[in-house]
Amino acid sequence: MEALSLFKSLFKIDALNIFLVPFICLFGIVVIIYSLGGGAKDIKAKGAYYTYLLLTVATSCAAVLANNMILFLVMWGAGGLLLYLLIGIQDAAASADAGKKTFILVGGSDAVMLFGIAILWRLSGSFNMDSMHVAVAGKAGVVAFLCLMIAAFTKAGAMPFHTWIPSSAKVAPIPVMAILPASLDKLLGIYLLARCALNIFIIPASSFVSIFLMLLGAGTIVCAVMMALIQHDFRKLLAYHAVSQVGYMVLGIATATPIGIAGGLFHMLNHAIYKSCLFLTGGNVQYRTKESDLDKMGGLAVLMPISFICFLIASLSISGVPPFNGFFSKWMIYQGLIQGLSAGGSRFTIFTCLIAAMFGSALTLASFMKMLHAIFLGQPSPDIARTTKEAPFLMWLPVVFLSLLCILFGVFAVALPLKYFIIPAIGSTSLSLSGYAPVMSAILIAIGIIAGLAYYLLFGAKKSARADSAFVGGEIIPCDNRVSGVEFYNAIKELPVLRNLYAKAEKGLFDIYDQGKTIVFGIGKFFQYLHNGVLPTYLIWTLLGMIVIFFVLQR
């Protein structure tokens, strides 16, 4: 009995965390099936790999269910450790470097969270999340809030603590990317953010904190998507989108309106679904082609039709095209922003954020069009054999399942996920979700597509299509010449202002890890200079130290 009461004091199940548990387990199952099907082919230490995956699921569940902050921190930190172990599971120098960077950022943010928890404990006298209601006011309250935000942002990958995601994207195994940075870390990070906004802290609406978070979210959306546009490796491109999408979730929760928070949570769920789908589909392509560079692929839609359709659905979801799930959650976030306006929020901030979010959405679509074209459409690349087959059954099954989930959560958004998961979670029943009827619009869109298809099949659009050689600058380019489509986007890199920024970003000027390294090593150099190895110098410090202590004590 005593053990049971201890257990009860450590964990607490409420509507905000219980709906995450099935999803955490779901992503665990999906990734494990995918790995068994061949996704983990390159990994030598198979036993360790599956152990870590299962432990990751276990620690994530325990973290979201924990009510005691210390238990939460232990599970959260153990999750970070497992992330490090999973990234470095292949013995390669590059993945070891990425793992190092990841864990310095993630583990470091845990230490910062510890500070935040300590301050919370001092302010509220309790370790239990449900009995803390700390106002984000005064020095201590704001510092505690910022500490917890740093932890949540690092885990979820929001700017400026996101740099570990792009660095590890290219070198970590694909299933690892799909389960941790793309889904579970997002769930955990945004869960902490929501928990802070709903339970732990009392954030006054349209306060400084709320505006700060909103701007940070908007900045994350735009900056990360701009970085994504210029990537040539699909894994890095997806990684930058994993950062960019966090911006929407942060933005939604920062509005502090019920519909905004609901939108943020829903977007978190949707993002986990379509982003893991995208990573796993990309993994399928890489499994068959051994290639992750966009320049070297093309024309795979015919060869890998299932992967293509799943990738298309997930791409449309992430770009916020109705009727898929990404659209609905983004739409809710916009609604939340607009409602924030009527709640007395700063007009300037809200409009800035709204424009940034919509602009980001457009750029997301642009970069996914690039990727779709480069991988699946266009002229086939000479680097890829025409005999490439669809991925094995156990590898496409999870992907199909996830893309079906994208459609389901988009079309029946109100009837399924919102009703059962999201609205109970935020405990508000008065959400006005009018203005967009997902089922109706899905039917209309479907009718449109069917009509188009019918026209194509009936009237044979093929007949009217014509292929011919192009004449460019006095040179005739044969019609089967390949355009990967990636080059078009290089123009962005050459824009006058952006050119400098991109060059600096690639040098790591905006990377908190690289900058921190420079500062610390600079200080280290100074101290190394002082340690000259000469005994008399050391003795002088010793004696000076003693004299100073004597004067301090004498006072």
Binding site: I104, W121, Y538, L539, W541, M546, L553
Partner: protein, 503 residues
């Protein structure tokens, strides 16, 4: 076993073993020497746990032994209280694993009996310093341990090792000299050398003008033994130069016994702690923890890197004790225990790499995980412990120190502790990256895992790292809590000893 007889055994066993091994060692086989050195260590560990058990029923929670039956303050006494027994358990347990490890590691060295002689002399010094109740005796044992460690640092007799030992000896002697001066002043003022009696005299006398001066001498002297910044400069040379098992001993327990234990014992139980003393401790702890870790980050010599981390971790311990609240001291002592486990383990790992690969330079090792899985695994655990990653033991002690800082309102020190923790993590990520992860070097293709005895010690210490957090359970907590009480109720120490011995 009668409770009275346990106490002197902590000095007698290692002192006897030291000379017995040096005499017999020349005539018997190597394996016999190993047996002769491991057995006393097992006995010492057994007796320290026995003392822990006996302490619960002992009058006044104090095990006393009057040498020659002379009652203090006239005779010399040995007194073990909860703080002492805590240190005894830590020192002797770590010494046991290091001794077992040494039986494999010392194969490479020729004059092995001398090594164990010095090892046991050092252990004599540390155990004696913990059990003694007499200030002059404390100084004698301090010198025994120090001199043995000077010799052990120079054990390899290469130029670099001799230079390090020379520096260490000079600086250590300066520290001893100042400690001796402090003791002399105290003796002149109180006319007694018994710590309990001295505390009584100091508490009852009206003007204690001598305290600030003596405190400064002691802080410098013991601070140098504990390697607090700015008295730390000998450590980064001395610790890497010794054989790995001795580095583990030096970093793991010596700096804590000679430095932290002696400081805490004298300031809390004899001189009487003041707010200014605590402020000085906190400050020294905080700068040690930052400067140590910043210097560690740019090291490429594995053992030197670990040595700088010793400075930084001692900073945590002293910061915790310097907070002065029960929670802070608890954190400090818990971190002391944890640090002695994981730092010894890290040095043993570095020794295993040195043994198998023959290098200490991080740039010359890579991908060793494949060839040395046990070393890699245990090093991973120790690295995570020292970096304060849950669920390993280092996390919990850092957590308590940080909570204590916040509870007492020292937000600045708390921030320093956080930054130190992040940088420690960064530095150990570097160790993992360059030593164990990555691709195996061509030169390391034929590397073999360390021998069984070395693996045994490393695994045992790693298990303690994993399970260390359980010491916070209510049923196990008194082990540290009672030691904390000894320091918090500093004045009771003298009352108990004088009261018990008068009977």
């Amino acid at each position: 076993m009668n409770s009275i007889n346990v106490v002197p055994l902590f000095v007698i066993i290692p002192l006897f073993s030291a000379f017995f091994i040096s005499i017999v060692g020349k005539f018997v086989k190597r394996n016999a020497v190993y047996a002769l050195s491991v057995i006393p260590c097992i006995l010492l560990s057994f007796f320290s746990f026995n003392a822990l058990r006996l302490l619960q029923s002992a009058p006044g929670h104090m095990l006393l032994y009057k040498i020659g039956g002379w009652a203090p303050p006239f005779g010399i006494c040995m007194a073990v209280d909860a703080f002492g027994v805590f240190m005894l358990v830590v020192v002797n347990l770590v010494a046991l694993f290091i001794c077992i490890y040494s039986t494999g590691y010392m194969e490479k060295y020729t004059d092995m009996p001398k090594f164990f002689t010095l090892f046991f002399l050092m252990l004599t010094g540390m155990n004696g310093l913990i059990v003694t109740g007499d200030l002059f005796n404390l100084f004698v044992f301090l010198e025994i341990a120090s001199v043995a460690s000077y010799a052990l640092v120079a054990f390899g007799t290469e130029a670099e090792e001799l230079e390090a030992a020379f520096k260490y000896a000079i600086m250590g002697s300066v520290a001893s000299c100042f400690i001796f001066l402090g003791i002399a002043f105290l003796y002149g003022f109180t006319s007694t050398l018994n710590m309990a009696d001295m505390a009584r005299v100091l508490a009852t006398s009206h003007s204690v003008f001598i305290i600030p001066f003596v405190s400064a001498l002691f802080i410098m002297g013991f601070g140098l033994k504990a390697a607090l910044v700015p008295f730390h400069a000998w450590l980064p040379d001395a610790h890497p130069s010794a054989p790995a098992s001795i580095s583990a001993m030096l970093s793991g327990v010596l700096i804590k016994t000679l430095g932290v234990y002696a400081l805490a014992r004298i300031f809390f139980n004899v001189l009487g702690i003041t707010a200014t003393h605590l402020a000085v401790f906190r400050f020294l702890g905080a700068i040690s923890l930052v400067i140590g870790v910043v210097l560690a980050l740019s090291q490429w010599d594995l053992k030197r890197l670990l040595a700088y981390h010793s400075i930084s971790q001692i900073g945590y311990v002293v910061l915790g004790i310097g907070i002065g609240t029960p929670l802070g001291i608890f954190g400090g002592l818990f971190h002391l225990l944890n640090h002695s486990v994981f730092k010894s383990l890290l040095f043993l790992n570095s020794g295993a790499i040195d043994y198998s690969v023959g290098t200490r330079d991080l740039k010359h090792m890579s991908g060793l995980k494949e060839k040395m899985p046990i070393t890699a695994g245990t090093n991973m655990i120790a690295s995570m412990s020292i970096a304060g990653i849950p669920p390993f033991n280092g996390f919990f002690s850092k957590l308590i120190i940080i909570f204590a800082c916040v509870q007492a309102g020292y937000f600045g020190y708390c921030l320093i502790a956080i930054v130190g923790s992040i940088l420690t993590l960064a530095s150990f990520m570097k160790v993992q990256r360059y030593a164990f992860l990555g691709e195996l070097r061509q030169a390391c293709q034929n590397v073999k895992e360390a021998p069984f005895v070395m693996k045994f010690s490393m695994i045992a210490l790693a298990v303690i790292c994993v399970l260390g957090g359980f010491l916070l359970l209510p049923s196990l907590r008194p082990f540290i809590n009672n030691a904390v009480d000894v320091l918090i109720e500093g004045a009771k120490y003298s009352a108990i000893i004088l009261g018990e011995t008068a009977k």
